[in-house]
Symmetry: D2
Subunit: 363 residues, 4 copies
């Protein structure tokens, strides 16, 4: 249960960190959409640890393979199955800590929920590696949103308490790909790099905030009162491990504003109704209003740290301490940027289909 | 579309602010649960404007009527239909401003989505009045959670930038019902009252933050990776008009913490595994860990203010200005507290049913 | 659980035979559709016992009331709530037989499923009266299908073993409304009437077969492999109490045909691809092929008969015998015709929406 | 859309006849269930053409491979992914007839629905080969139903108009596996074999009827009014290509019975309430009554025949004739028996989970 998302454009995720592989089924994609493995690979590569200072995890080729649903380079209307085979799977370390749940990870809750039958190796189903299945789904959705000229982009706006300066859309679009932290404020990036290096030495980790922006979303997406743009986005974004909160537009800062400050006045611009501010983050009453959709998510600091931590041996029911060995991202924020993009893309694609904006056959 | 929530315990909301009434269908409630109209009325009454300083809206009896699904005082296993008939429905004002979408409200987006066919009177389907349908669903869910000894309570923690001091559970439980703002910090409450009085004179409004707490939730609720406790809660909470963000546990503050600070160490307490801190807000990997579930939502300042605001006449496509007359809540935070409670209750009830914790017949 | 049907055009049924009333929520109906209570009443009236020889049940006005979702005579995009208030509710008889489950009825299974908490009066939720909620949903769906020029009509083809001769579409369209049995073969109708009169004297009952036909359904409806036209229709038709089987096109007779006899050859007709026979009943691979969709359902003989029947007293767990008093339809086939039509209409409407054929706003 | 079935026990089917392979995702299977590839292979092998007289299709090893969700021989609670790689894929013939839709097949409707982008090779997504994905799902569900001691078995009761004599449960259980036609009446089997041999010489094909029986189903399964046992079974069974009708218990024969003949009287047997007949097929009001569930499906004669057939060239829009070469089952009824079993098993498993009868962790 719980491994499918979406009503008309549906993704189903499967696979574990250290099993045969991880994969995605996309059901509901219109027929006739041109898709190559390269299209999907391009997105997957953004998720790679690469040479980033923040990340040092295992080296996986993460090569996508299309198993079904695409024929002669185009979608067929049948479910699309995409898979990445696992290769670099050393799980001796996980055998050692099997009964020592890592604080901040899902080890304990998975053990409780699945009666200890869960695949614990590398976090199994709860591994960050599973986000690759989301990115693959996002790569397909991105192609569909392109038909509507909707652009979704995310960028790092905070790491370890260091906040990036607000930047214009063009600067964000350009700068975020210029640096390994995917931050548009290159000055702040330098400070973030220093902060990451410092905690790395301590064997500790950092979190941060990612902002996702969707441009050219037409007014009218979202199905109130429950299947709202914000509700659906929040649910999808919280599927990303480590996300602990989501806000839209002014978000939590709205709590200290007055109505007259927070309301976005309507005005005409080139014959189109726009708002002069965007505290609503493009969403009113759960429906898109045509302004940029702005979502922000907080990523908690990576729970796997080198420092010793108190835990409980769940087999022997004894207090214990745990030191996690091996390779871990000091800060996953930069790698999560592409996942935030994927989840926003998938969600908006599904909502666009529900609103009848995407044809069933692409010609 | 979009008016149903839940997989096994499903609520469907219907009705408009100025139509015949508003109502809820609850499908999936086990048979044999004792329910009276008084049980539901008690929750509805908490949503009432009452004598609160913050609220001055229309006086509705808001009397619930059971239309179906309850027989001899007990649920039958058939869908439960609860309705509140509308009485106090003066909508002359809404005719006047029909083509002048109120900034911060759903007038414009509803107009765009439904081609102008939406019932615009009093915000129609987007009225805060529709939250009564959520509260009714919550009243049923609350009875079911009681069987599991799960307690859900919400309280105001911030209004107009004034933050309440953190209080213990007992103090929250007791104090929040002692004052009209439903805040456990009685000192802060006084300041909040002053802030509300001040903006009221200005014809302006205030927002705030509500914290919801669920106690005694067993470990193991939530269906990763998409139907997580946090994802489902967020989606449900964002159905409340004016909520612009949701966070769990440490929430956005986790962005500036180190992993060693944010991780909650496990320890044994009376033979049970607990965490010594609760930055996770009771949720790890989307699954409850047995600690209190802590969710916080931001409520934007009431968009309906007395001040003149710029808008666009959507019939004539001309810039215009709008002054809203009539009765409006200066700050809906206190009334939203019960709605936050309802949405958490409904969501946890559905997740408990998915986890197989609630029998199909209550004996 | 189980009281909602449809993915984009969703109906939720509620209410019991002897409670406050029965009703329907329709969620997902496009905005701007003109709907009056008269439109719905017209369909409801077809379900009335009327002066038919076959039926003698209680006299209910069955007046529909619109509670939500329609404003100024048009749908708003919000959920539509339609209700019929119960009036003629004498349930003394049901108290008497409360623990004597009627053979062929749902008394026993409802008792087992809901632990005896079900509203047993008049069959409660399992009453034929609940089909009025389906007919109301069908009345809305019919208006939407009209936009696509799709026509759905059902007619009686067999009662008590007497089979009507096959008739042309025009004859069916015309004749079925000319006689209380809704049969297009007026000769056979006479025999059916005699058969009904005969069993009525015996205190017994009869069943029959209804054929539903959908014309002008475009090729391409249906979502294989599970949400097929035939699968969705069958599920919807089996929601009608007393239906015990569904077949499409040649149906069960295909078992004794050869492939060369059963295959429908394709040919061109006025530049359009058609089949020269229609053994497929308009459905190939779960997808409509543009030919008339032909579904046939068997209605079992009314289980409520005047004859004494063996049963078990479920309170005392003793064998017992039961004689049901009161008014009962000798043959519900004629009244079920409109319900078959409703279920086909609702299902095709939902499938047409999934296929993207119905706009979200009707202009 | 449409490739998932089930609410709590969900299967998602993917893959095409001549692509990389076909597969199934099972989401919602409880953790701790022992499953080996052999368990699944055993069911798959029943679907094999084998040495049967009726079938001569391509020789595929049809070896299942577990890709996810099973760890150390037990389910983990994560989605299970099972795949069969395609091997014997000669599709030159299909290129030849690409624009000549085969009568009785989904070629034409798939072309229309997916704008010609569907994978047409071997019927692609509409191939009988896809039923292997259903059988794999059924193999898992069967293990779960075994926990409840529910037994599902299907057998051939008619081929080419030759009807098997009714047999007792023991005889069915034993005999159906003794002969390639999976018929319990060994005498009738001989006649069926002769009929098949005869039409084979003509280059023609035969259909038939399969009966599925579920034993030990507890009373109380099914969620009226839409998610009924019969409705859900029918929808699932109609996912099997070539099924054109479904009936329960007395089925279509009920149309010519009187109520007094068709009603199943209740009586006590060993302290348990049973019915003395089973015209209801174990289902009353959409809910199981504890008696054997009896479903019958009609399988149309295999549409792929060697005889020349009229069709239309859909590229050139010209009448044409088609002779299909290659290997085809003369009668797929025997192979469909295991698929009927699978679909009944999957559906009852899902309904048992909804009724709360299967724990979330198997210990």
């Amino acid at each position: 249960m719980g491994n499918s998302l979406g009503k008309l454009f549906t993704i189903t995720s499967f696979g574990e960190s250290h099993g045969r592989g991880v994969g995605t089924i996309i059901d509901g994609c219109p027929a006739g959409l041109a898709i190559t493995e390269a299209d999907i690979q391009r997105e997957l590569d953004k998720r790679k640890p690469g040479g980033s200072i923040a990340t040092t995890v295992r080296k996986e080729a993460d090569k996508v393979e299309i198993l079904a649903g695409i024929f002669n380079g185009k979608t067929t209307g049948a479910p699309i199955c995409l898979v990445i085979w696992n290769q670099d799977v050393d799980f001796s370390e996980y055998e050692r800590i099997r009964f020592l749940p890592r604080p901040g990870q899902a080890d304990y809750t998975a053990f409780m929920k699945y009666g200890g039958f869960n695949d614990f190796r590398g976090g199994g189903r709860f591994s960050g590696r599973v986000t690759a299945t989301l990115v693959m789904g996002g790569a397909i959705a991105r192609k569909l949103l392109k038909l509507l000229k909707i652009e979704v982009m995310a960028h790092t706006i905070e790491i370890g308490g260091i906040r990036a300066k607000a930047k214009g859309l063009d600067e964000i679009r350009e700068n975020r790909n210029k640096n390994p932290l995917r931050c548009a404020d290159l000055k702040a990036t330098e400070e973030m790099v220093k902060a990451i290096e410092a905690v790395k030495k301590e064997g500790d980790s950092l979190g941060g905030i990612i902002e996702g922006i969707a441009l050219n979303v037409p007014a009218g997406l979202g199905e109130p009162i429950f299947d709202t743009v914000d509700g659906e986005l929040a649910r999808a974004l919280l599927a990303i491990p480590a996300v602990k909160g989501v806000e839209f537009g002014a978000g939590f800062s709205a709590a200290s504003k007055k109505g007259s400050e927070n309301n976005d006045p309507f005005t005409l611009k080139n014959g189109r109704i726009v708002t002069t501010t965007n505290n609503a983050g493009g969403i009113l009453g759960g429906i898109s209003n045509g302004m940029p959709i702005i979502a922000r998510v907080v990523i908690k600091p990576t729970p796997s740290i080198a420092k010793s931590q108190p835990t409980v041996n769940i087999r022997d029911m004894e207090n214990a301490s745990l030191t996690i060995k091996g390779r871990h991202d000091v800060c996953i924020v930069p790698r999560a940027v592409v996942v935030v993009e994927a989840m926003m893309t998938i969600t908006l694609c599904d909502l666009a289909m529900r609103a009848g904006l995407i044809p069933r056959v692409i010609k």
